[in-house]
């Protein structure tokens, strides 16, 4: 809402005008973000042009041309298809299992005590180091590739869900108990909505990690999809296509996160503007 400044001018009339200033101009985060992005591209362009040899560092223009060529190449879409199948499997299962097991562990202290050492271990460990181990153990089929994505997302979601249930205040627990609400109804009406902010944050961060898992899986485990293209372009010194490909990965990640953010805002719409 715009602040209204009222002041009395020389003739004694009350003038009202919306307050304008640097603050309100910079207020829309989209504008600021967009400007920062443009500044980054300009810096990139200047640096690339200043190089005598920009084979390994193309200008923004060349990269953009590469992007256009890329999206017209059926190989590109084929590569994404190959990469997205294990991503989707790993992502959906890690989100679902993370919330489900997180809810059980959040409600049952015994379960939590049983699994918490493993959760702590896998959450602290950079999952990438497991990838070579997994190749040895599971090979490189769809299951193995989905598992990498799963491992990246799962523990984040699990932990957030457990924490979310823990954050439900003693007062709310007392209140629920004082009205004698049964456990099933209390789960649906108090526990689940109470933990929902943390669960949604976990799903968003977990999605980001699953995208990282997807790329790591491609680069470290088996290069059949996007990873294979990255390696090919690198080998052929096609820097424009290589950069364009990386940009498509970034766009994919941003779209996935934006979608999760939307979902979060929708599910938590009771928070109002918060």
């Amino acid at each position: 809402m715009a602040d209204i400044d009222s002041k009395v001018d020389g003739r004694g009339e009350v003038a009202t005008s919306p307050r304008r200033g640097l603050g309100s101009l910079l207020d829309p985060p989209r504008l600021v973000g967009g400007a920062a992005l443009i500044a980054g591209f300009v810096a990139w362009e200047i640096y690339a042009r200043s190089l005598e040899n920009n084979i390994f560092f193309p200008t923004v223009g060349t990269m953009a041309e590469g992007l256009v060529r890329l999206v017209q190449d059926p190989d590109f879409w084929g590569a994404y298809r190959l990469t997205l199948v294990p991503f989707l499997w790993g992502w959906v299962t890690s989100m679902a299992a993370g919330v489900a097991i997180g809810l059980i562990a959040g409600l049952s202290k015994t379960t939590w005590k049983l699994i918490s050492p493993y959760v702590a271990f896998f959450h602290a460990l950079p999952v990438s180091v497991l990838v070579p181990v997994m190749v040895v153990a599971f090979g490189i089929d769809l299951l193995a590739r989905s598992s990498v994505v799963f491992l990246f997302g799962f523990f984040e979601v699990l932990l957030s869900t457990v924490v979310g249930i823990g954050y439900i205040s003693d007062d709310i627990r007392d209140m629920t108990r004082s009205f004698g609400m049964g456990p099933v109804r209390a789960f649906r009406r108090v526990v689940l909505p109470g933990a929902m902010p943390a669960i949604m944050a976990g799903l968003r961060i977990g999605t980001g990690r699953a995208v990282v898992g997807m790329v790591v899986m491609e680069l470290l485990l088996v290069s059949v999809g996007v990873g294979r293209l990255i390696i090919r372009y690198r080998a052929l010194f096609q820097a424009d296509l290589l950069y364009a490909l990386v940009v498509t990965l970034a766009i994919f990640g941003l779209v996935a996160l934006a979608a999760m953010r939307r979902l979060e805002n929708y599910v938590l719409r009771w928070r109002g503007d918060a």
Binding site: S169, D171, I172, D174, M175, T176, R177, S178, F179, G180, M181, G182, R185, R189, V190, P193, G194, M196, L268, W270, R271, G272, A274
Partner: protein, 267 residues
């Protein structure tokens, strides 16, 4: 009838035990409004939560209507100091929470909750969320939620303790009016304001600290129905002044004692 019979409570935390209540006994006749009052740490909230069935006494029993309290029950409803509304649910859902807990069908509970929201002056706010309401309005929802389940016993834990002075006054008078309209509900009201206790209650149970115990039971001499005019009468002013003085004394003694304890612990 609420009977508190030789109730003691010892909390143990990290190997240290703390005696919250020692041998507390008193009774509340059905339909009476009593106020539990005392300095912080006298165990008044603990006692109230025991009546609600949320805390078990270490020794002794609390009987309500001749039956020992072993847990929460549909005969009692609690009003909390920090309102404790569900932030994700609108006002109507919050007010209907107790009815929902009891499995009353949606349409019926909405109807009952709506009627009680009207009584506390929140008609028209059904679709608002708690964060859109002031503290006083949130507590009105808390009171509507408790009254909606039509409890025999109303338990109120410093319900106006976190409100500003003016809102507090307004809420006190609205509760007074509301309670006198429904006059059959036995009510236990925890507070640390003597003025509040004397305005609302038939009887004041004054408690002292370390360990929490009953120091004095005082009958409030003002006839009902009472209204706002009471708080200006000289009798009322004198009555509250006397009791406030007693409470102040207790607090001073308690402070001196805790200073002693500390120097003993140091030495």
């Amino acid at each position: 009838m609420i009977e508190v019979k030789s109730v003691s409570k010892i909390f143990t935390r990290n190997g240290k035990s703390f005696e919250a209540l020692r041998d507390v006994s008193f009774g509340v006749a059905t339909g009476r409004f009593i106020s539990l009052i005392g300095p912080s740490g006298c165990g008044k909230t603990t006692l109230l939560k025991m009546m609600a069935g949320l805390i078990e006494p270490t020794e002794g029993v609390i009987e309500i209507g001749g039956k020992e309290v072993t847990g929460s029950g549909p005969d009692r409803a609690l009003v909390f100091q920090n309102f404790v509304l569900l932030p994700w649910a609108d006002v109507l859902t919050n007010a209907a929470f107790g009815l929902e807990a009891r499995g009353i069908p949606k349409k019926e509970r909405a109807e009952i909750a709506r009627a009680h929201l009207d009584r506390v002056g929140l008609g028209g706010f059904e679709r608002h969320y708690p964060h859109e309401l002031s503290g006083g309005m949130q507590q009105r929802v808390g009171i509507a939620r408790a009254l909606a389940v039509d409890p025999d016993t109303l338990l109120m834990d410093e319900p106006f303790g976190s409100l500003d002075a003016i809102t507090r006054k307004v809420m006190q008078h609205d509760l007074l009016r509301l309670w006198q309209e429904t006059a059959t509900k036995t009510t236990v009201f925890v507070t640390h304001s003597m003025e509040e206790a004397a305005l609302l209650a038939d009887e004041v149970v004054v408690m002292d600290t370390r360990p929490g115990r009953v120091a004095q039971v005082v009958e409030v001499p003002f006839p009902r129905p009472r209204d706002q005019a009471l708080s200006d009468s000289p009798d009322y002013v004198q009555f509250t002044a006397e009791l406030s003085h007693n409470l102040e004394q207790m607090q001073r003694i308690d402070m001196a004692r805790s200073l002693d304890d500390e120097s003993n612990a140091d030495g």
